[in-house]
């Protein structure tokens, strides 16, 4: 069986490489790998040929819920931007905090942390507040490359931050560990690492401008725009999220897509200028299409990898690794798995890994928290690079993707070390779980 699966894996890699060589996009290259692997597998009935179409189509729906969140959140933010709300917020931030640099940086970090912490998706942070925060950071004199780097790291940390951490939830559900006691094991490192990142990357001022000069250079705000017009849609969105936590049994279950849609409607109604909503929605979806295509194809790839046994082989390789080597390799395995499979990585590699770590006496909750710091780093790695690509998009950084990624290396290494140490010393850090409950 090792040989059979090895051949299928080789064909998948070759199909991917061939597609890249033919200069096809990442999405089409991954699709080629999925189809190639599926056809190769069908020769040995894994999966049977009459099931291949079903596996490809079924896999395409794996991340439908995430796709709906992305779509509605991005349209919501596009309306806020089109109404002039983004420019208004950036102007306000600069006006009040331009000369209080540390406070301004930490405030902007917290603004990015909140949406992701509430929804478990760093992408939501970027889609909701990424663009205005990027502009604000830019006016604080930070180069676009570093702005993108800050957004990428902090948005990733926001996804790991409590109360909602999807990786931890998937792992908790899959390992029958209650999703409780994560507040301090996740909250403390996220705040410390976020502060370090934003100060380290944002400390250096590339250019110094006078406040008046900055304000003059900033885009004009439409007449009639005010704080309440900007904040009301956000208030509605966060109000719906918080209300569903506070009164979960008396409020109808709306779900994030509808919550974003309602907030978008409010943003549309309070906009001081008329917005052509259909044109804006069409353009937004066009911009989002590569990201959505990635999510669809990752699902297909994941399904084919499972049906052929490739996924099992990879999982087996991780579990079979000697302990010390495993701890070291976590720095590579976890981000790379996220880059290939996004949330699927938590199930494929995370679940058996946590069972294994638990069985050797480590504390599962703290170990999950430690791994949760490493997974978001993978959202900057190809082929998916979900958060990385969004960070580049919202910060309007135009140069090479790799140059942007290189700018993140110091926080990346620090986060990796903290995450791995949390796993290794999870038993000693068990008090954080107790204090959280």
């Amino acid at each position: 069986m090792y040989f059979q699966i090895g051949i299928i894996l080789t064909i998948m890699v070759m199909a991917y490489a061939l597609a890249k060589w033919k200069k096809l996009s990442i999405e089409l290259s991954m699709l080629s790998a999925a189809v190639g692997g599926g056809i190769a597998g069908a020769f040995v009935s894994t999966p049977p040929i009459d099931q291949l179409a079903r596996h490809l189509v079924e896999g395409a729906f794996t991340y439908l819920d995430v796709i709906l969140v992305f779509s509605t959140a991005t349209i919501f933010m596009a309306i806020v931007r089109e109404s002039g709300g983004v420019n208004y917020v950036v102007r306000g931030t600069i006006k009040y905090f331009y000369n209080l640099r540390i406070i301004a940086l930490i405030l902007l970090m917290i603004i990015v942390l909140i949406p992701g912490a509430l929804t478990g998706a760093g992408s939501v942070s970027l889609l909701v507040v990424g663009a205005p925060v990027a502009l604000a950071l830019g006016y604080l004199g930070i180069a676009k490359k570093r702005v993108a780097a800050i957004l990428f790291i902090v948005a990733g940390l926001s996804a790991a931050a409590p109360p909602v951490n999807i990786w931890a939830m998937i792992l908790s559900a899959g390992t029958a560990i209650p999703y409780v006691g994560f507040e301090l094991p996740l909250g403390i490192p996220v705040l410390l690492l976020g502060t370090f990142t934003v100060l380290f990357l944002g400390w250096r001022r590339e250019r110094k401008m006078e406040l008046e000069e900055v304000l003059k250079e900033m885009p004009e705000v439409p007449a009639g725009m005010s704080w309440w017009r900007v904040f009301l849609p956000f208030l509605v969105f966060f109000g719906l999220v918080v209300a569903s936590r506070l009164w979960p049994f008396s409020i109808p279950m709306l779900g994030l897509p509808l919550q974003f849609a309602i907030a978008a409607l409010v943003a549309l109604l309070v906009s001081p200028k008329r917005i052509k909503i259909l044109v804006l929605s069409r353009d937004t979806m066009k911009r989002l299409l590569p990201l959505l295509a990635t999510m669809i194809v990752v699902g297909m790839l994941q399904q084919i990898m499972t049906a052929t046994g490739v996924r099992g082989l990879l999982s087996f390789a991780v579990i079979s690794t000697p302990l010390i080597l495993l701890f070291i390799l976590l720095a590579v395995i976890i981000p790379v798995s996220e880059g290939v499979l996004t949330y699927g990585a938590a199930a494929i590699i995370g679940i058996p890994l946590i069972w294994f770590l638990d069985s050797i006496g480590l504390h599962a909750t703290v170990a999950i928290a430690g791994l949760s710091l490493l997974w978001p780093l993978g959202d900057g790695l190809p082929p998916t690079a979900l958060i990385g690509r969004l960070s580049v998009m919202v910060s309007e950084y135009k140069d090479s993707y790799w140059t942007f990624l290189k700018a993140t290396w110091v926080p990346w290494v620090i986060i990796t070390i903290v995450g791995i140490l949390m796993v290794i010393f999870s038993a000693r850090l068990e008090f954080l779980v107790r204090w959280s409950m």
């Binding site: 099931q51 079924e58 029958a176 052929t308 046994g309």
Partner: protein, 387 residues
Amino acid sequence: MPRILIVKSILLLIIIALMSVAGVQLYKHRHFRMPVVAGPGVTKVEKLSDYTKGLKGTVADTNVFHLEGKEEGGKIFIIANTHSNEPAAILTALIFIENAVVDKGTLIIIPEFNNSAGRNTRPGDGYPLYYEIQTDWGSKKFRMGNRDASPLDQWPDPDVYVHYPDKQLLSYLDVRNTNRTWPGRPDGPLMEQVTYGAMQIMRSEKVDIAVDIHGAETMFPVTNCIVAPEKSIRIATMTSLTVKAREKFDNHVELSPSGFRGLSHREIGDHSDTLPFLLEAPLPFLDQPTGPKTVDLLLDGKDPFLLSLSKKKKLFVPYDETGWPMEKRVGQHCSVILEIIRQFSRKFPDKAIKLRNVPRYADVVKNGVGHYYRDPDKSDKAKVYFN
């Protein structure tokens, strides 16, 4: 026509063809009708909606089989397919429905507890759509379901599931998982209504014992075991010791954690007088590090990766070249349930339950699971039930 347009048109046609083929297969899977033959012991068949009206007319409604003895006694409630991707549960429940004769007390069985999950697939996990069990009269086809109810039946999901009534935060997916939605409520999401219906059965029928049948990964510590809360732990322990001594298979006892909410083995005991037990048999198919997810792996549980990991002592159950065949898993469930009944009857003689015609572990291993199923084509049509 420009070349790019031709390429796009061809790709579109291929996609339409793929979606049509897959769509028909998935439609058939969702609407597949699996017959259950009511055996000689079945005295009435109700619907879960008879206990909570909100389920009427929904996919979540499901058959409830009653096997009542002539003599009054205790009552046991068996729940299968709480997770519809753990097939030993429904296979065990059908053995009881199609064979058991109750002399004293009552046996209530729901073979397809999460009926919506039974009609769902698991995107990303590459499951087969069906599996077949060989019987003495041919093969009996079963639908492979999912752990969670279908979003077609319960949607949208919240961003995080807040458990009722404890407000513990659980994964958003767990809102569709009927082993996280206990004890449920009559006006909650559909799966909370399903568990509420089951709670109503236990309260209104004054059920003494509830058994929720599951399967779990070999790499999961809580496998091959009986999970029980404090109030059931003595009977669980006696059961475990007895099957080990008499029938030579391991089935250890795990204490139900009080801080983990929504599970049957915790909430049933906390919200009713019933003694809950959750049975786990090893299910290698669910393990992550396995070869292809085939029907063979599902039924015989043989996998070279797991064998290798077993040699490295990374599994929580004994594992060799014979894998974990379905006969062993179903046989264990049968024997453990019979032993729980026996231990309960010894402890509470005034509420004793007596039943016969249900095979034990050695019988199922020897004869195969399918040996105990009746041919629906040759049975009285009035006794063949579909969900």
